[in-house]
Amino acid sequence: MKGKNRLRRTLMFVSAQTPGLVKEAYIYGADSIILDLEDAVAENQKDAARFSLYHALKTVDFMGAERIVRINGMDTPHWKEDIRAAVAGGADVIRIPKCDSAADVVAVEQYIKAVELEFNRPDAGTLIMAAMESPKAVLRAEEICTASERLVGIALSGGDFRKSMQTKYYPSGNEILAARGLLLLAARAAGVQCYDTIFSDLNDMEGFRVETVTGKEMGFDGKSVVSPRQIQVVHEVFAPSEKEMIEAERTVRAIRENAERGIGIFTLDGKMLDVAFLPGAERVLELAKASGLYKGDLV
């Protein structure tokens, strides 16, 4: 499936109904742009947002940034037409908000397939991302993660999740610690990506950096952002150190060279290595390349 495991350090929300934001969204360098048809769009403007979305997808050059469309919830009358506009326009990923079960993912997948046929795009391979906002969803994360081959990753929507847990934002993050852990475990077990929730206080950049560091340490692949100001911070936090990059480069080179000679397990600098270390080392190099640190050609 195309682009399923691409780098997604930053996923920036942009209202699909605001042309001034959409046309310039790529400038800030987010890995993925989430064109939002849901919360950012007033109920009586849902139709207008779809027209803006469709024409932006067909016309605007996003300069390589992934184009994710957040559709309206499946408890609304909008989600099917949202998918039709997004798939017809050529969106890369459909993001399901308030995803509560594997059945939600399957229903979206089936509708995407039907729409791809309707618009003569049978090989489009439109991907799926699921956002979880309720305790029920978090407890079902494992089944959600394995519901579709098209699912690239899952995300925690912290705002609504906090409300449903009868708590609020705390700088410690304790109120969503369990949910973060459960989502990460489910995602890693299923081999899909996992993205941390947004940080809404744009005046607290230090708090944002601390939360981003925590997310990286926990194992998230990236973080949803609501302002271009937050992108650089995430990219800095997720960039490998020079030492990590050099070690990864040597690891990748050594594993590949030994594999060509039929050697599966060996030692490098006194550490035992085998092919299981390859994906992690390649990911470090991909992060380094995206951060402008790595100029080589191993990834």
Partner: protein, 99 residues
């Protein structure tokens, strides 16, 4: 498509365009107010007329208040205004034409 009632789409924010469409008297009349009227007035009018032609609209009065919109935004707002004005309630034929 037949324009059955007045309808509007778009906003007056920067980079957007607000398009109002009303039933006409057998022709297409376009009135444009734009911050870039001298440079792009003709192009804006051409995009609006082409969109209406593609949608089979032959009678309408159109008012365009442009705030520096790209062509794709003008087209998106014009299409939305037409669908609203024609009281179209079926699935939108994205990339095609509803008549």
């Amino acid at each position: 498509m037949e324009i059955k009632r007045m309808a509007m789409a778009g906003t007056l924010e920067s980079s957007d365009v607000q398009i109002t469409i009303e039933p006409g008297n057998g022709t297409i009349a376009v009135q444009i107010d734009s911050i870039v009227l001298n440079q792009y007035g003709r192009q804006i009018k051409a995009v609006v007329l082409r969109t209406l032609e593609d949608m089979g609209v032959t009678s309408a009065n159109v008012t365009v208040v442009d705030k520096g919109a790209l062509d794709c935004t003008i087209r998106a707002r014009a299409e939305c205004a037409v669908y609203r004005a024609s009281e179209f309630e079926e699935q939108i034929p994205w990339g095609g034409v509803a008549r």
